[in-house]
């Protein structure tokens, strides 16, 4: 551990996940002497490239990076720091029980053509639906760019925000504007049913609305979740599918390189155990080693519950806020399975070898066969059980980046949706973990017969593993459930949506803050604007 720097730090970022790195980079770029502290030996957090037992490289929690806010990539010069993105022509491929598939392409016209094999009406509806989603998502993106208004004593800044949002709202067509408030609280099941008649098409679109949540296709507010996923990126109705060359870790590396280039210092293996305070003001952080590092600004990339309950002295937080923070909902329902494969698995629904290689480059949706199939998989998880018909989002990143499997073969990354953090029976011990792995492989076998025989290495991360590995309380990848009650001015808590935590100088920069989770860098980018505004005000 290095000794105290010649000049004291002006900002400390807790957590070197992708939002922590974005915050560190922007703070350093603004001229602050910035220190990023990461508990793990590597930066990136959930956005990492891991190594399987067979040497192949696989994603950490997230496997696509297409939601990264373009302004973050541009302003931090990530391309110059080695970030190379690959966007295949296919977005999603959803094999169906009858051997056919719903494939969503980057090109809406191509998607429409393909959907006509399911329903002529659905094919015709696609272009309009895509346009509708893009328009509404564009407005959500404007909301996402803004710091939520103060819930009491609105100031000039809020007036400006209101004006900008008003302008964004006016950009919506009359119909879209009328639709916006109607659709946000809608269940995605109803929203897709308004445009499409065939169940596989509905399910292939709807699945993205429930990924990483503890919500079902019939849960209200899932339309808002779909629009949030499409906001600020080129996803549209099909959703983004963008890979980082070298795996998601390459994005983390580029962010770290950018932060360092602006002068930020990054320390790994440095666990923060508490935020030091004096009379309601942040004075620095205390490390597990016992060292205290002083800084007037502390930006936490940890989830809000961990930040408030875990790092702040009880008297600084106060009992009422402690109670409220304790009620932040973090119902983790996602598990991860990474597979090393001796060769490309065969998906009969993907067609012949060449055709298959094209269709399998995107997100492979297993279980997106009908709205109620999604709901039933969700139902089991509500009661701590795992459905036999789990929902899976799989990718084969080695198809677009062969360097991940240098000695040939492939890797498959699987996000298993609706795996409960808390099991009704038993606990997440080694046997349960392996049983989950078996269950996921068996589920894959239904669409890719023979895949089990190609597995050379397997890694299973249960929701509990995600919590211990990445510090996600409750195992929730979004730090807080992306439901409407925890959205915009209500995220993470009413009265604390403006990135400022109850202790002066403490900020939340992770996805527990607006605009929420996913690989966007957005909460951190927004938060740093507020941090710098406060700093100017104090001067």
């Amino acid at each position: 551990m290095s000794s105290q720097p010649s000049a004291p730090y002006e900002a400390i970022v807790i957590g070197g996940g992708h939002n922590g790195l974005v915050a560190g980079a922007y703070l350093a770029k603004a001229g602050l002497r910035t220190l990023v502290l990461e508990k793990r030996p590597t930066v990136g957090g959930t956005v990492e490239t891991r190594r399987l037992a067979d040497g192949k490289r696989v994603p950490g929690l997230f496997h696509t990076v297409g939601r990264l806010r373009p302004s973050v990539a541009r302003e931090l010069g990530l391309r110059g720091h080695g970030l190379a993105l690959v966007a295949p022509e296919v977005r999603a491929f959803a094999p169906q029980p009858d051997g056919r598939a719903v494939t969503l392409w980057a090109d809406p016209a191509r998607t429409a053509d393909e959907l006509r094999t399911w329903s002529a009406a659905d094919g015709t509806a696609w272009a309009g639906f895509d346009r509708h989603v893009r328009a509404l998502a564009a407005f959500i993106a404007s909301l996402n760019d803004a710091t939520p208004p103060a819930t009491s004593g609105a100031g000039l800044g809020d007036a400006i925000t209101g004006l900008l949002l008003g302008r964004a709202f006016k950009k919506l067509s009359k119909d879209d504007a009328r639709q916006l408030l109607r659709v946000l609280p809608m269940a995605i099941a109803d929203f897709v049913a308004e445009s499409f008649e065939s169940e596989p098409v509905r399910a292939a679109v709807a699945m993205r609305a429930v990924m990483f949540t503890a919500l079902g296709a019939w849960s209200m507010g899932t339309t808002a979740a779909l629009l949030a996923d499409s906001a600020g990126n080129d996803g549209g109705a099909a959703g983004q599918t963008v890979f980082a060359k070298g795996g998601p870790g390459a994005l983390a590396d580029a962010l770290a390189a950018a932060a360092r280039s602006f002068g930020a210092e990054i320390r790994t293996g440095a666990e923060v155990v508490s935020v030091a305070t004096l009379d309601g003001r942040v004075t620095g952080v205390v490390l597990a080693s016992g060292d205290e590092i002083a800084s007037p600004i502390v930006a936490s990339g940890l989830d809000p519950k961990r930040t408030l309950l875990g790092l702040l002295p009880p008297l600084e937080l106060g009992p009422n806020l402690r109670w409220r923070a304790g009620n932040i909902r973090q119902p983790g329902r996602v598990a991860r399975v990474n597979l090393g494969l001796s060769g490309l698995p065969e998906f009969p629904a993907a067609g012949g070898r060449e055709e298959a290689a094209r269709r399998l480059r995107g997100r492979i949706l297993v279980g997106a066969t009908g709205i109620d199939d999604i709901e039933r998989a969700f139902d089991a998880s509500k009661y701590g059980r795992i459905s036999d018909a789990l929902l899976l989002e799989a990718t084969i990143p080695s198809l677009v980046d062969p360097s991940l499997a240098p000695d040939g073969g492939h890797v498959m990354s699987v996000i298993a949706q609706y795996v409960p953090y808390q099991l009704a029976e038993g606990s997440w011990d080694a046997a349960a973990r392996e049983a989950l792995g078996d269950r996921v492989v068996a589920r894959l076998e239904t669409v890719a017969p023979g895949i089990a025989g190609r597995i050379t290495a397997r890694e299973v991360l249960t929701p509990l593993d995600l919590e211990s590995e990445y510090g996600l309380t409750g195992g929730h990848p979004y730090h807080q459930e992306p439901a409407l009650d925890a959205w915009f001015a209500w995220r993470p808590l009413v009265g604390y949506a403006r990135y400022r935590m109850p202790v002066e100088g403490l900020y939340l920069v992770g996805p527990g803050a607006h605009p929420g989770g996913g690989v966007t860098g957005a909460p951190a980018q927004n938060a740093v604007k507020e941090i710098l505004a406060d700093r100017r005000r104090r001067r």
Binding site: D279, P314, L315, G318, P319, N320, L321, R322
Partner: protein, 400 residues
């Protein structure tokens, strides 16, 4: 449903006129006798037994019991050594008073600290919410511990006769264990009367036996049971505030002006801002840094001849209500309202009409002349009221 306290089998037959009121879900006697004045006299001249069992009582037990106390109260709990009792308010995060009561440090047991916490309002949730990361168990013992106040100039004689031990050495705001008729009890040198007195903390299942022993021992000293009406008069004389009369708990306030900081309730002397953090400290530091709160609790001496004059103006003989009024009444300076009187009552001993008032800082100096609204036959008038030092009545025997 209102229920009797552990003393009810004895107090019920004594309540000749069935003058009950409800106190935290229990029947509490307003007065046992036709007039409460004889009970008042017992408190001030002899000895009285006041059933205070309806108080909320909590037991904090564990290595961190005192740390929990320290986290909550405005005083320095480090000084709360075994055998000591603190009177203190406690605040919310905004430095506004939630409640006030006495906190008793019992004797350590098996290496664990034990604290008895008394309160006017329920506190279990607050205590437990704040016990986060502390090794302390908080139990509600309101129903398992009966409490009786033995108050009055002869109370020590009664207590010594009843227990057969001397209590000369038990100083003001100290406590110790004792045995009464073979019953293990806890005795604190505390009370709500401003007189010499004790409070006895008794296992509820032995409450009746304890009562009988005290009455038997007190017979030669003319001991009497006393009810809430008499207690209200003596607490006013003693300048002791009453929740829901002289202030509103921050839990129940609806508007900012219903919140009170300790400095607004005459409890500033108890607040120790330098002895570590407690809930509300930051707000109180800020409040004092800004010059302190703009209103203060004062005692007022209300001009009796002017009251007489208001009655005379309507052809009536003057009347001094024998009970304390808890109706808030406006108080004026130079024709403008500057506060309100929250408790008003006649002191038989001092022969004065007294009040506790919350007034603007500029009018809180001793000697300030104010005017108070006084209504006779539904006709409003004003009478002079002078700010005086609290307490109104402070006999040396209180601390003796």
């Amino acid at each position: 449903m209102t229920v009797g306290t552990a003393f009810h089998p004895r107090t019920a037959p004594l309540n000749a006129h069935l003058q009950w009121r409800e106190w935290s879900g229990f029947f509490a006697a307003s007065a046992y006798h036709a007039s409460h004045v004889i009970e008042y006299n017992a408190i001030r001249e002899a000895a009285a037994l006041i059933d205070v069992s309806p108080l909320f009582k909590y037991e904090l037990r564990g290595p961190d019991a005192v740390r929990l106390v320290d986290r909550l109260i405005v005083r320095d709990a480090a000084k709360l050594s075994p055998g000591r009792v603190f009177y203190t308010p406690w605040c919310d995060e905004h430095g506004k008073v939630l409640d006030d009561g006495t906190i008793h440090r019992l004797d350590d047991e098996d290496g664990a600290q034990v604290v008895r916490w008394t309160a006017a309002d329920p506190q279990i949730r607050w205590l437990r919410m704040n016990a986060h990361d502390l090794d302390v168990e908080v139990r509600d013992v309101s129903e398992s511990v009966a409490a009786v106040a033995l108050q009055g100039p002869l109370s020590r004689d009664v207590l010594e006769a009843a227990t057969g031990t001397s209590f000369v050495d038990l100083r003001f705001f100290r406590r110790r264990r004792a045995t009464l008729a073979g019953i293990p009890i806890d005795v604190s040198r505390t009370g709500y009367t401003g007189d010499l007195g004790y409070e006895l903390w008794i296992p509820a299942d032995r409450a009746v036996d304890a009562w009988d022993a005290l009455v038997a021992a007190g017979e030669p000293y003319r001991i009497r049971p006393a009810g809430m009406l008499a207690l209200d008069v003596v607490r006013l004389e003693a300048g002791l505030i009453l929740i829901e009369a002289d202030y509103t708990s921050a839990v129940h306030s609806h508007i900012p002006s219903q919140n009170y900081s300790p400095y607004e309730l005459g409890l500033g002397r108890l607040v120790d801002l330098d002895a570590g953090d407690f809930i509300g400290r930051r707000a109180l530091v800020a409040e004092m840094a800004a010059g302190g709160p703009p209103r203060r609790l004062v005692g007022i001496d209300i001009d009796w001849p002017e009251i007489e004059a208001l009655y005379a103006a309507q052809g009536l003989a003057p009347y001094a209500p024998p009970t304390v009024s808890r109706a808030p009444v406006p108080v004026f300076a130079a024709g403008r309202q500057v506060g309100r009187v929250t408790s008003t009552g006649w002191s038989p001993l001092l022969k004065k009409m007294l009040g506790l008032a919350s007034v603007g800082l500029a009018h809180a100096q001793t000697g300030t002349r104010l005017a108070m609204e006084w209504t006779v036959e539904a006709r409003r008038g004003t009478v002079a009221a002078t700010v005086v030092e609290l307490p109104f009545f402070d006999p040396p025997r209180k601390r003796a």
